[in-house]
Symmetry: C2
Subunit: 225 residues, 2 copies
DNA sequence: AATTATTTTTAGATAAGCCTAAATTCTTAT
DNA sequence: ATAAGAATTTAGGCTTATCTAAAAATAATT
């Protein structure tokens, strides 16, 4: 039932998946090339190949999107990636900024049995260490409401449930400020000038975050109490 | 400090490692080709390449062996492979005949940190699910005496500590007879005709094994009691 | 609407890893 | 000691995934 793809083909599928996810229109050749740090020419080549295999719907000069089958495979990859990240953090004690590159390799290991047993071993987690949803074996996501911290009003309380970007520099910054998935964040005040926000973390420490940062912090609002 | 090798190069190193291990003389091109299911011509190509990188000592027409650095890398691979096999069996509940192919993939994941944390997570195991020694981070093996069951005399008791071959058919056969690492094996009698042996497993069940099978079962003798 | 700029595709090359067939070297047997 | 046989290497090609440079198509601007 599962086709055997090379790691490279899988990476292209994931790139298209991400591009499709974040823009709703067709993914452009350049977008994919940029994401994979490769040339536009290489992308075109691969699009022909994946199109041949019916994994993508590709219109010359106009862009590409995943077919149903391609989407299924990409979701399976996301599942693998996020399960491995969870394993690395929960079981091996890595911190969330270290796991991406390793999971990037582990996700290409071929064995459905392995993934499903890993899922079981981790007790069927619904979210990975960055707060992103982990698709179930049949490709279903458990979504939850997440709004940017920047959208909260003064006095509102929330819990951090995700981060928009996963780059090391950003995550290191969060670590330094003891900010992790699950911490409570109360809005103390907002600057009218630059929209920076004073936030109380875990009802303990107070920090100042820029508007840009606040947009990358995804929270769940707590009902006032 | 670590050179980045392709998975293919790593597989060649491992093949040479195994060949060197089991024959003491130089590994021949054909031996390696057979082991990797590839052509002799491909092996020659790769030997030139690995020789260039000083990972093997290669004499045209005469064979090849690992250099010190090649040996270090091969040992690290064996370590990874056996740790992953241990993980798959101990933590994910695979049985010993299922893990080889998956570990074969996992061993190529590049991250020293990962291997060392996995080692710690597994509580620094000294032997893998097949009873083979797992090299420590600095490449040291903890060897133990193992003799073939076929060498025991009537009346002697032993514990199974390893198997010579890892092929699925053999391991499946052992599973069917409830034979696993750790079981006790008492020699009841030996046939003078075909050297087959009647063995009492775990002081419970009695089975008949051929001489061939007995040669593949590695045991530790129990002092008579 | 035409021209410029940008994006994308095509064309032609390269490197890794593999193959088969032919040539070479080593081994063995007479 | 030499010829036959076996093993190994070389030569020449193939595929995948990549690249740069040139050509073609689309988008943007005046």
């Amino acid at each position: 039932m599962d086709i055997d793809l090379t790691a490279t083909e899988e990476n292209y599928l994931k790139a298209i998946y991400k591009a499709n996810e974040s823009s709703s229109s067709l993914a452009s050749t350049n977008t994919i090339a940029r994401y994979l740090s490769t040339s536009a020419a290489s992308v075109t080549d691969m699009m022909k190949k994946l199109s041949q295999k019916n994994l993508v719907i590709y219109q010359k000069y106009h862009g590409v999107k995943l077919s149903q089958e391609g989407s299924r495979l990409a979701t399976a990859l996301v599942r693998k990636h996020r399960l491995w990240e969870t394993f690395l953090v929960e079981k091996l004690g890595f911190s969330w900024e270290e796991v991406h590159d390793i999971a990037e390799q582990l996700e290409h290991v071929r064995s459905n049995e392995l993934v499903d047993r890993l899922d079981q071993f981790l007790d069927y987690p619904k979210y990975d260490p960055h707060g992103d949803p982990i698709p179930s074996a049949d490709g279903k996501f458990t979504l939850r409401e997440r709004i940017a911290l920047s959208n909260l009003s003064i006095g509102e309380s929330s819990i951090l449930v995700g981060v928009k970007h996963h780059d090391k520099v950003f995550l290191d910054y969060l670590n330094q400020n003891r900010i992790n998935i699950g911490v409570t964040m109360n809005i103390l005040s907002k600057s009218l000038y630059d929209h920076s926000i004073r936030v109380l973390i875990e009802n303990e420490t107070e920090i100042l975050v820029t508007d840009e940062t606040a947009k990358n912090l995804l929270v769940r609002k707590l009902s006032a109490d």
